[in-house]
Structure formats: C-alpha cells, structure tokens
Symmetry: D2
Subunit: 502 residues, 4 copies
C-alpha cells in the first residue's frame, strides 16, 4: 500500500523532482512556475530538490536565471515573494544529458543521491519531451536513476499515441520499465478548478443528483474554443489535429467525470473504475456524427489573420481539422438516448471551455399554453459550468418579470468565482504536480481508461484519414463551420454558446 | 362567463371605484396611491371615476388635497409625474354618508350614474372599514348602488371573522347580497412579487418540480417578523393576536400556494381548487405543536422599548400572543411527514418575510465520510425565497473552495431582484386592485378556502383561549422565545433564519 | 350534508324505488335482478317498496310474473333462494301511466305514500326510457311524485345527448326540475369490479404509483370488443354509432379514472373533481387520430354472419361506425406525450373489455446487447386489467427460463379473480343501485364531467358526419379494420390484444 | 482474452475433469450426478474424460459402480436414460493417490494425456477435499498435472478460511500456484435458478428498477432455514458455526447480487466489480446487530429431537451458534438507511431459502384514512423470491375484495415455477460445473470479493469468540430464538416469513 502521503511529512524522507526536457517551453511556462507556487504555498515536503535535465549545456546558475524569468507571485500573496523565489532557486539544479543515455542518467542519479543524503529517496520524473523519445527516457531513468529505497514516479504528457495501436505500444513500452502505479499520465484539464468541482457539485448536493440523468437532461455540451490559430507553430499540431489534441483526451475526460456513476469512494481507483465504465458504455464515433473544419484567412478591422494552411509549418494541402464537432452516446441506463455534443476549435471568435447541461422541456407546461409572448419552448433550464476563463457556475431559470401582468424571462442563479472567492485559483499544473508528489492518482489517466478512450475515436480517425475527408472552411475569428449546427440540429440540439443572451 | 377583461378595453364601458372608508389610514396610505400608480402605468380603463365615501364631511377638493399628500411617483418613472397626478386627482370625487344608510348609497349611485354617462357601468367597492359594519355596507351598496348593466364587485379586507363560526356568519351575510364571484377577499401577501413568482418557479422550471416533495424536502419554513410592536395602536391587534393576524391568512395562504398540486390551468378557479385541496389535506393544529410568545420591555443603547402590555391600548393582563411558532403537516402523498414550520412575531430583531426550503441530506454522502473539517451533515441545500424586504431567490449549494486540497463550503446561487431588475417592484395593492378591475380572481380567497383555513386554526385558538395559555416572554428586539427552537427541534429542524452565515 | 347513508338504517325511514319503463328490456334483464340481488344480500333498507311504471296495462301479479322470470340466485348463494324471491316479489308493485302525465305520476305518488305509511319517505326513480322522454318524465315525477320529507333521486341512463349541444340541453332540462345532487347519471362500466379496483391498485400500493406516469408508461390501451353485431336491433345504434355508444362514455370514463391525479379524499366530489381535470387537460380528438370501421357479412364454418347494413333496422347506406379506434392525449405534467389508444367494436372475434398499460423499454438494456435470441425490444412490461369477461389483473415480466444457459422469456405475475376469490362478482347494476340508494355519487357522472367529455368528441363527430367519412370495412368476426394498426403505428404502438402469446 | 467458450466446440480440444476427493459425499451426491446431467443435456464438449482421484484404492469399474448409484434422470427426460448412463460411465476413470504427492499427480497426468491423445488439453480439477489440504493438492496438481497447451482450472469449495487472516493465507497459498483466472471459488447458492434470475428481474424489467432503492424499499430480508440439525455429523460444523457456514458466504453473496449497481455489462468481471463495490460500502457487523442461537432438544408427537450439544460429534459446552440473525447496512446513495436483515438456522420449523423485499408504506394513504377494517399500515407491498424449495416469485399487492362495499385485502401476483415451467430445474452444481468448463466466471467468487466479505464478518466473529457470547436457546423444530424479533423490531421490521397469511 502506498504510504507516500504520510512519508512526505517525515523528516527522513526527501523528494527529488527531475524535469526531463527542462529547456522546453512547457517546462519554463508551466512546470517550474507550478513548482514554485507549491513551494510558496508550503505544499512541498521539507526536503526536496529540483533538477532540470536536457540536452543543452547549462550551469545551475544558468538554469536558475532561465527559470527565474517565468516565476511570478500570486496577486493575493506577494509577501516575501522575492525572498521565497531566491530560496526556491537555490533548490534547483541542472544536469545535461541525452534522453537515451543510461550513463547520463547514472550521473543524474549520483547527483540526486548526494542531495538525498541518506534519507528515504522519493523521485519524480516529469517527462516534458517529444513522444518519440518517451520510452528511451523511461528506460534510462528507470534502470539508472530509480530510487533505491523510496518510490519512483514518472509523469507523462500527451500525446499518448495517435490511435489504439500506437497508444497500446506506448503503454506496453512504459510497462516494460514501470508498474501501473508509477505512471502518471497527465491531462491538465482534469486539474482545472471547476472540473475538480464537478464531483463535489454532483455528490455533495442533494438537488443535483436527481436531475443528473436522461430523465431530466436533454443534452450535454462540451465546448472548447481558442481565439488564435497555430501561429507559425503548426508542425506538431498538423500531425495530430484537433480531435486528438482536444477531444479524445480533454473533452472526453471531462465527459467521463461528468457522466460517471457514483463511485464507491473518492479513492483514485474507485473514480477511475467509474470513468472506465462510462467510456466502455459509449459507442465508437460514427463519421456521420462528426463535422470537421479548418480555418481560412480573414481580414477584420484592417488586420488580416492567416489561414491554417498559410502557416509555414503546415503542408499546403493539409486536411488536418482545426475544428471538430461530434455527437456521442452513452448506452447505459442513466444516459440512454441523451446526446453528448462536443465542439473544439482553433481560431474561433473567443476563448472558452465550458460544460453546458440543457434540461428537458417542462411536460404539460402551464405557462406554455397561456403566455404567447414568451418562447417557453426554448426557455428550458440550463446549467453552465465555465471552466475557463473566468470560472463560474450558473443555472438558468425562468421567473416572473417583476411588475404588473405576467411576463416570464430567464434569469440566472449565479456563482461567479472571481466575485465569491477573493483568492487566485491555482493553475492546473500545481494541483497535478502536488498530487503526483503525494501519490494521489485520481486526476491521472489509467491505462485501461486510455485504451477505452482510443477505442472510441480510432475507427473515426482512420476513416477520416483513409477517406481524406475535406474539412469545411471557416473564417479565422468566426464561430466555426455551419455544419456544427446541422449536426446539433440532427439531434434536436441548439449549441448553448451561440445564443444571443450571453 | 366573465368578459370584463375585454369590456374594459371598450370605449363604451366605464369603471367606478368607490373607496368605502376613504378617510381611513389604509385608504390614504395604500389604496389611493395604488390607484394612482395604476393610472400612471396606464393600466386603468379609459373611462374611470374614483369616489371616496366615508362618514366625514368633505368636499371633492378636500379629498383631493388629502389624497395628494400620499401620492408618489416611482423612482424609475418620474416623467410628467406632477401632470399625471393632477389628471388623476380630477377623476377623484367624494361622497359622504353613513355605512348603513341605503339613502346615502342611493345618492352615491346617482352621482356615479352621472359620471358613467350612459356607458356600460362597472362598479368596484373597496370596503376599507371595520368588520362589524361590513354586512351593513354591503347590503346598502348592493341594494342601492349596484350597477344596472355592468358588473358590481366588492373588495373586502381581513379580518374575515375570528374563527370558523364568525367567518361562516360573515360569509353567509355577504352571500345574502352578493354572489361568490362578486366577492374579492384580499390577502395582500398574495400580491407580493415573490409570492406571485412561486408558481412560475415551480411550474416553468423543470429542475424544481422533481425536487418539490417529501422525497427531497426535509422541511419548509414560513417566517414573518416585524421589528416594531403595536406602538400605541394595539386595540385591534389585542382582539386578534398574531395567529389570526398573520398565520391563519398570510402564511397559510403562502403555504397553500407553495404546496399545492399542479393546477389544471392557471385560471383562478383551478388554482383555488388546488389550494383548497392542500388545506383540506392538513391536520388541524395541535396545542403541542404551537408556541406562543409576548414581547417585554427591553432597553438597548440607552433606549427603552415598551413591552406589549405597556401599550396603553392593550389590557394589562392580556395573554394575546405577539409571537407564535407552529408545526403543520399535510397528509397527502407529496408531503406526508414533512414539517411545515411557521413563525410570526412583532417586536423582533428584524423585518422579514421569507420561505425557506431545507432539502434532505445526501444519502451515502461520499464527502461526509472523507472530509472531517466540514460539517456536511448541516450543509444541506436550501432554497430561500425572500418576499420582503429586498426581494431575492437564492439556492445554497456545496462546492469546492478553490485552491489546492479539497475543502468544501456552502455558496449561494443567487438571484437578487434589485440587482437584476432595474425597475421598482409594484406594491401588492396595485396588482390586487388591477386584478379586481379585470375580474382576475386568482389572488383572492374563495369562501371554501376561507372555511378550510379556519377549520385548521379554530380548535387551537379556542383551546388557547379556554386554557388561557400564558405566552412565553421575549425581549423587544430579540429573536423571539426559545420555545420556538424546542418546537423545531422536536421535528429535527433548525430555523434557517438564525444561522450565523447570513 | 347528505345523511341518507345513515337514514336507511333507521326504522322510521323507507325507500321507494320506481322503475320507470318497467316493461323494457333493461328493466327485466338488469334492474329487477339487481334489486333482488341487493335484497338477497341484505343490502336494501328494512322498509322498501319497488314500483314498476310504464305505459302497458299490467297488474301487480303480472309484473311479478314478468320479473320472476329473470331473477336468479348466485351460484355461491343458493340457500333459501326461492323463499327470498317470493318475499322480494311481494314488495314489487305496478303502476301504469304515461311518461308525460302529471296525473299518472300523482297516482303513483298516492300509492307510494300508502306504502310509506308516514315514515320518512325517500324515493328513487330509475328512468329506463328513451332519451326523448327523459325531460317529460322528470318534470312529472318531480312535480307530482317527489318525496315531501325525504330525498328524491333520479337515475338516468345514457345516451346523454348526441353532442355538446344536445347534452347541454338535456342537462339544462333536468336542472329545471332537479338539483345536481339529485341526478344520478349511470355509466354501468364504472360499476365493474375491476374499474372499482383501479383506484385501489394505484393508491393503496406503493409499487404502482411511481410507475404511473409518462416516465415509465409508453402507452395505455382501452379496448372494448363484442363478438356480435346489432342482430336485427340496430335502429337505436345506427343513430349513435360506436363512438357515442362506447368510447365517449365507457372508455373515456375509465380513462379518466385511470389517469386522474390522486384525489384529496375518496369522497365522490373529490374524485369527480380529479376526473374533470383530466378531461379538461385533453385535446379534442382529431380526425387524423381516428379510424372508423363497419362490419361486413362473413361466412365461416358454413355459417354466414350478416353485415351491418344487412340488418333490416339499419339504412342500406348507413356510414355509422360499428368500430372505431382513436388516439387521445393528455397535456399535463404526468401524461404529456403518452398516447392513450381506444378501440371499440362490434362483431369482432371476441368479447372483451380491458385496459393495457405498456411500459417503456429498459434504458441501456444489458440483456438487449447480449442476447440475440430474444427480441427484448418488444418484451417490455405490460400491466393488463381485464374488466370482462373473466376478471383478472396480470403483469407481464421478463425472467430467465429455468435451465442451463441464459434465455429470457416473458411470464406473467397473475391475479385471476375466479381462482382467487370463490364468490361471484356482483353485477355492475347492483353496485350502482346500492350507491344511488345510499347517496354515494362516486360512480355517477357529474354535469361538468359530461360537458368536458362531449367537448372532446363533439368536433370529431360533427366532422365525421359533415364529411360523411366512409368507414373501413371489416369481416364479421375478424379483428377489425387494419387502419387501427396504422393508427397505432403512427404513435409507435402495437395493440396488445393481438399479440400471439395470449 | 479467454476463448475457451469457443474452444470446447472445436474437435481438436478436449476437457478432462478430475474430481479430487472422488469417494467423498459431495462427489457422490452432487458432482458426478451433475456431470452426468450435463452429459445427458449434451452440454459437455465432444471429447471429455472424467477422473476420480482419492486416497482409496479402487478400480475404474468400482468407481463406475459407486457413481452409477447416484445417477438419476430428470423426470422430464427419461428417454434413453440407461443407455446414456452407460456411455457416461465409460468416460469415467479412477486414479488413486495422496493429495500431497506430486508423483501421484504425475501418474494422473500421464493417464490424462493418454486420453487427451494429442488434442488441445483443457483440465478442470474439482477439489472436493477438506480445506487443510487445499494448498497441497493445488501445489501438486499445478506442478505435476497442469495442461501443457490448454487451460487448467481449479474449483474450490468453501470454507475459504475462518476469518480475514486465514482466508488471506489461503488465497495467498493458491496464488503461489494459480493465477486469479484459474481459481473458481464455488458458492453453490449462486447457481440457484432464482438467484440467477435476480439480475434478469432487475435489469430486464422496467418496472422493478425504479423501485429498487431506499426510496421505495423499507427493508430486505435474506432468510435461510433448515428443518434438521447436525444429526451426528456436527464436527465440521462446530468448528465454523452458522455465521461462517451460511451468512458470510451464501446470504452475503445473494445480498451483493441483489443490491449491486447496474454493471456495465454482463461480463463476469463487470458483475464482480459491482459486487465488490456493495461489499465495500457496507459497515462491518456490530455485536449489537446480531443475535445468535442454539437449538435444544424438543419432543413433539412422541418423537424427541436431540439438542445441538447432544450430538456426539459436538463438545458438550459448545457455544457455536446454530442460528443467527443480523442487521446489515449499505452506506451508499441507493441503500442508505435500509436495513438488510439476515437470518439463518438449523433445526427450525421448515426448510426454506428466500429473499423478501418489504416496500414502504404508501405516503398520505387515501385508504388508510377511510377504511378502518383493514390494517393498512401493515399491508405494504412485498416481493418474495423463493430460492428453495419450490421456486417462486410473488408480489403482494392490495386490491379490492370483489363484492359490494369497499373492503381491501392483500393478494399475490404470482409466478410459481413448477406451474409455469414444465421442465425440471437443474441443480446448482450443473450450472456451475458447466460455467467452469466454459470459463464463465460470473458466479464464482473473486479474491477481492472474498476479502471484502470477510472484513465485514471477521471483527464480529472474533468478538463473539473472545466474549464467549452465549447463544439463546430455541427448541428443535421451532421458529428460532425470540431475540431475532427484537433485533428486527429495533429497525422497525417484522420478519416476513412468520406472518400468518402464508
């Protein structure tokens, strides 16, 4: 049994966090700042060491200089910030090496051991490197730099393969060197504040659970949009496309959390068991239930925004979707027949990630019969969980407009986080790094979850590629291709994010 | 069939509104201002005349001067206000007369006829006079001042008797001269904005209806408090007491609206049918389920507030309750076993009228088992409908406190009227007067409703009086007698308005 | 308040039952035998007298002879039967007279008074006469033969008019002479054992109520079939047709009882209030939702059964439907969207009256996915209430066929009355006569119910007649026209009575 | 993936079934007859061989003679029975050997191989031997007689240890030689026809699922009784007692099947996942919630039945319970607060195993208020699933007693297997043996299930033993100790099997 949660409180243990790929963008922008935030919040164990590892030659001081540029203090916690930063940087070190060299990892091991100074040594490796060298790095780290007396864990970032086969191969590769409970597959959307809150909402409030089923919910929408394109860095993206990049992982993970049955406890394995069950109850996606799009150049206010294929890192004839919409179905007792619609895209008119739950019409609606001014048929209840930006939960309800006469309108019962909670919301990476240190696996993806997720999307992805399905064009900065509306209409759904009222 | 709603739009009909008891307080403070507001809002028919009638000698101009002092314009509608007031006052006339004189009413009739000028004459009498002269006035108005060719309606204010017998006698008296559909028994709480909204909330929102039953609701609380005492005007009150003054009518009416089954339509008779059904499903109140209190003198911040029996208009040995709490039960399929708690009092610490719905605990609560910091057992969902002051609807839910770690707290999904709706909320009297003019009976109390209401309270009231039950004392400005808490505790309830969080 | 229930137990009161139209078929076959059964069961008050009244000349003894031919004793109660019959016949008397003669009724009055012998005299008139003389008889009975000191009640048999207008005229006519609570409109289907049991099943069993709504019920079928035609007596029938004869009253009444909300009590007015509510929530029938048929001659086993228009009492070109099927909808919260299908016909393959409740499919059916041998999609649960013949309630459920392997089939949880209850089930007329004597109005139709019922059917009936819609032919002894299946299919329904399994 | 289900249909594979402990009682009475029944029903693969293995010296023919005495043909399938028996016996062979001798198992292996004749060899060992030699036999069978090219499976019979520790040791021992998917822990109650049907009832009938929760179910009772005592064979029993013998396995397994959530599929692992979840949601038993009893000598009809401690194989001062009743609770959303009562005993008044589901009272019961003759408070609905003898499902409902007047009683909607299904119901062993041959693990107990089951009972069992809790005496042939009623009453329950009506 994993006792790491307790170990970190003991004096005699230590944690070493090695960021493999330390000179990369993600490391600089997200990982080091998150580690600092955890340090600042006093969440890291007393004895810890941070190592950057990458191929570049660098001294410890050069690393510290590089890292220091991206550290910030929270708006609400500026006290002693400079001092804290200095302390943090003194715990950061650098080791250069090849990702496939056992010798270089052995050197790292020697250095780590020096810092560990005979304490119980727990080691966390964060692989912030391209997928094609995952296995090499894991092999070297595992054989040459595993902890001798504590735990060794490895955080892996997506992509976890391109389809069922490549994902299975990757998992098989990892499992040659690591056991399931050492692998921490990160999906940073699962670390978002409101995604975490999903389970709290459902399971600690009596009023939501009875509503959480086909009986009351008409459809569920999972929406992700970015207001920028690939911006000259489309090489990686073009190989994957929006479906693999956003839908198959982030949106599908959120869907599983949303739709799962009540777990037997809040333990990681219990929650992941339920998530797998939902995924296994779903039908693989059908081409008919998917719309793909690609953004085109668009000029607005005198500025011309380039189309996707005008990105120099993208092939001119690329049919990689930068937008996709899909309808999914869960064939179990709770969700039978309820469409789960997903929509994800780049270069759209806004930046947003949200879950929209549209409730059914009121049966035998008294007001529908009597009040002709209000389109009550469309005024159904809606619960919106806005994951980013500007976190909020709101519930749309119908009520009487104050005044003489009887006129209804739709108001919102609102919980706006910024207004309610003074403090800054931590970045998803902070939560996930802390969980990995503490051995909390709830928000990481287990191998069987990953398999189940790929088996839903792989047939579709293959068909799209084999048939070279042409994406529907849409202008940069628009609301995406019109096909997404036809798809929704096919299941009697209107996208909630395009109504006028918001 | 009543076609008045249409008639008032026709040129050839006219409405005469006679305020019987025009020199009284209610007339000045509420009725004339409400009539003016309706005029300002353009809600009165084109041809209308207002007559004040009382025993005092007064000219039309004296009436206008008296009335003009209490007219105000809404904060949001100040345009042409003076001009409008002037126009309105020109439509006001005065007729002095005894309340039991057919001749005087015949004079009124003559005057009204002059104004009606041959049009279809609809007449509304507002009886703002003591109950002992209701019948006399109705007899005279009915026999000498009824409309010959239009409708004649009479608005009656509470008290509608002191118990089943006196109420039945009053009804019988009225029915000698009027048919049921001519009698408009006013309960001005039914005209409150949020009471009106109750049905809208329930019946036009899918998400509330499934929750609206014993299965999800633990208890319902109906709370009324005033922060002042009788203040030297306790004569009338002492004859009735808080139970008759507030509970048996205002709170019971709200309870009936809250708890009724879905009516077959929004028509007045259908709604009133359902309200009667609820009242008939209730058990008459038991002495054991009632707590009565009386406020005592209290000195605070150097000011001494007088006790109830120190009011000169009140007998020194009065045991009339100025506070009461009661537990009621509805023995039907929807509400079996759910306590409905009422609380009403004068001279309490604040002024408030609200409905609080406390939901049940989450069964098998996942978070209850795991998180010891939060008292989740107490953190159940609550829906609060604040009727006055400062109208609002809010729903208390549990959610995760943003930040690392898992800590829950209770937030509110909030709909605050003042923030959401810019315009001023009309006074209950405006709505009710307009409804009476338009023949809309939904918010008026039918004879069988009144009977059913009295039959719930009469045995208790008699027992209280026969046993001369001594009220529990409480200090002026306090939260009322502690007995109210014991009563609630007997049914596993905590009053929602005394928790610290609000 | 009606105290008749108690009065009949007092020595000093008496009941006189006058069968107006005593020489008719119904009187002989149903009314006198029912009165005897009540007598045999000791259900009639101690002092009672029965009078036959009709135009024929007859002596008391001739009446007794006529009546005695149709009296039978129950199979399970043969004791003293002859003796009891004799006693009963001695209480039967005869008065001949015209139905529109006050004088003749005055003579009846004189005779009744002699039997009443100064006791409190309660009088019940059973109008077993053609509708065109209802009003005359009521006028005469009411003015010349009303009880002076007890109650006077009149039982009326259908038809209650041919449409909204004629029904309203009839009601208006009756109300000239009778108050609502004196009129007992009989629908003998409401006296059937299993129709009575409907409310018991729903309201005294926890397990049915949660299932009793759109959420679980897919459709409800009300089926009536006779295996004989008009058989030379089609004159009356041709004027009305099957829709008026069976659907608008019997089937609609059962539907209302089935679908009504829980009444506030079992009192007659409370139940009838709920029935009216259901009727008012229904949409008037559309021609599109109705199929009409007429039987044709058919030869089977050497016997030729005549077609409807071959009946000599029927016009050769009659388009009167002898079969009809219809889809009805109740637009309230409980039943929104659930088709209620009715089917009624003469000269069909069997004789039957039943209610079939088909439940929805199991959402996310585990067995549906795995077992390909069983057509689970069709194997949904069904509750059947067989009203006649051979009363039974059965519930079709799926269970595992015993044996190795997993094979499902549909069994029935069965309550067969004949097997469970040794005693004979009383005829509907007994129950209804007894109720009328006791003043129990639950099973009689109130004027507003009747209005509501006609307003659903009148537009359709007029359209059928104006358009002279041709009925679809079907052979005598068949299962009716195929159009009934198309109508059902339009709403995704299969008639339950034609499946192979029964 | 396990393809054995298909393999057995292929010509080139063969199955050898070795009954280890062939001369024992269970083998003779249950295992060989079950194997024959499977053969007769044509359920065994084409190529199969049966070996008896035990310490006794015996020839093949002697085994055949021994076996032939207990073979019977089903009542409904007597055709060719003798012939079939002969064929079957020719496939039976015998090998004598020690249970802990590798050499003897190696001899068995040689013989099996001869019969397998080069085909794919699948081997099933049925360990019908005392628990203390389980591990030895498994070690020897596994190392010396495993199949080289097919599967090898081992069926183990209870007892699976005496508590958490010994069970864990046993599992650990088995897993040294076998993988989880080779171990088939048999609980023959899971092979009972109506236990199998439990899931079918719940998941293929829409009408049961909505009722299957705390909202509608008041309590669940699991009842097992035998009408005989240890009868001179109490040695084994005295070491275990009724709690270990019946409750912790048979009744708890049925409870888990009854109460589990809907599995994601009918696959064995999915069902077992859900069963483990239920067990993990339960609280360990409390001494306060358990009653134990022991039967005493009793004379009836001239016959004296001996008390438990009068059995010569039982210590005189034994406090081993021969009866126990217990209340268990499942702390999840579905079952929170619903008592699950178990009762098991020997030497009681009848032989029976059944599940009784008592539903809640009807809220706001209309009939409760009006009909004083019927104790409706006790007349709640009940679903009874009788597992043995005389399999049946029945549902108790309230309905109207036919006849005039309104009297209710409780009838049953009944499905009696013997009446509905002509064919004989197979013995549990047949089903389980067939499943083991086909690799269907649904009805076998997984290690984690077993752990969870023991962790519920182990603390109680230890406390009973440490405190030497004296069992309550009850007479042989009685209904058991009265303490069982007090325990039930503590949770407002009445045992359903002792009511008068059945």
């Amino acid at each position: 049994n994993d006792l790491s949660g307790f170990d970190v409180k003991k004096d005699e243990s230590t944690v070493s966090i090695t960021v493999v790929g330390a000179s990369g963008d993600l490391a600089k922008k997200k990982i080091f700042p998150a580690l600092f935030a955890l340090y600042y919040e006093d969440c890291l164990p007393k004895h810890f060491t941070i190592y950057g590892y990458s191929r570049s030659k660098m001294t410890d001081d050069e690393l510290r200089t590089m890292v220091s540029k991206t550290l910030t203090c929270r708006i609400d916690k500026r006290e002693n910030c400079g001092e804290k930063m200095e302390e943090f940087l003194q715990r950061c070190f650098y080791q250069s090496g090849q990702y496939d060299s056992r010798d270089h990892f052995a050197e790292l091991d020697k250095n780590l051991r020096r810092h560990e100074a005979g304490k119980i040594a727990n080691r966390l490796f964060y692989l912030s490197i391209p997928p094609n060298i995952f296995i090499d790095a894991v092999r070297c780290a595992s054989s040459s730099a595993s902890s001798a007396n504590g735990w060794t864990r490895v955080i892996v970032e997506k992509p976890f393969g391109r389809d069922s086969e490549s994902s299975a191969a990757l998992t098989k590769g990892l499992k040659q060197y690591l056991k399931e409970d050492q692998i921490f597959r990160i999906d940073h959307y699962l670390g978002k504040e409101l995604v975490e809150n999903l389970s709290v909402l459902r399971f600690s409030n009596l009023i939501f659970e009875p509503l959480w089923s086909r009986q009351y919910i008409r459809n569920v929408q999972l929406i992700f949009s970015e207001d920028f394109g690939t911006e000259g860095r489309g090489g990686y993206f073009d190989h994957y496309g929006i479906i693999r990049d956003i839908m198959q992982n982030h949106l599908l993970q959120i869907l599983a959390l949303f739709a799962m049955e009540t777990p037997v406890s809040l333990d990681a394995e219990d929650i992941r068991n339920e998530k797998v069950k939902v995924l296994r109850s779903m039908r693989p996606l059908q081409l008919d239930d998917v719309v793909v799009g690609q953004y085109q150049s668009h000029t607005r206010g005198g500025v011309t925004y380039p189309g996707y294929t005008e990105d120099k890192t993208v092939p001119k004839d690329s049919v990689t979707p930068t937008f996709a919409a899909a309808a999914l179905f869960i064939d179990n007792a709770r969700w039978d027949g309820v469409p789960f619609l997903m929509k994800a895209g780049k270069a759209l008119h806004n930046r947003r990630a949200e879950i929209r739950v549209q409730f059914r019409h009121v049966p035998g609606n008294l007001y529908g019969r009597n009040l002709h001014g209000t389109k009550l048929d469309q005024s159904t209840n809606e619960l919106v969980i806005r994951v980013q930006p500007d976190e909020a939960i709101y519930l749309k309800i119908n009520n009487k407009v104050p005044g003489l006469g009887m006129r209804l309108d739709r108001s919102t019962l609102n919980l706006h986080y910024a207004a309610r909670y003074a403090k800054e919301i931590p970045d998803a990476y902070e939560r996930l790094l802390l969980d990995a240190v503490e051995g909390e696996r709830r928000l990481f993806i287990r191998s069987d979850e990953l398999d189940a997720a790929w088996s839903l999307f792989t047939p579709l992805l293959k068909e799209l590629e084999q048939k070279k399905v042409n994406p529907e064009n849409y202008p940069y900065g628009s609301r995406g291709p019109v096909g997404a509306h036809y798809l929704a209409a096919k299941y009697n759904v209107q996208w909630g994010d395009v109504s006028l009222e918001e």
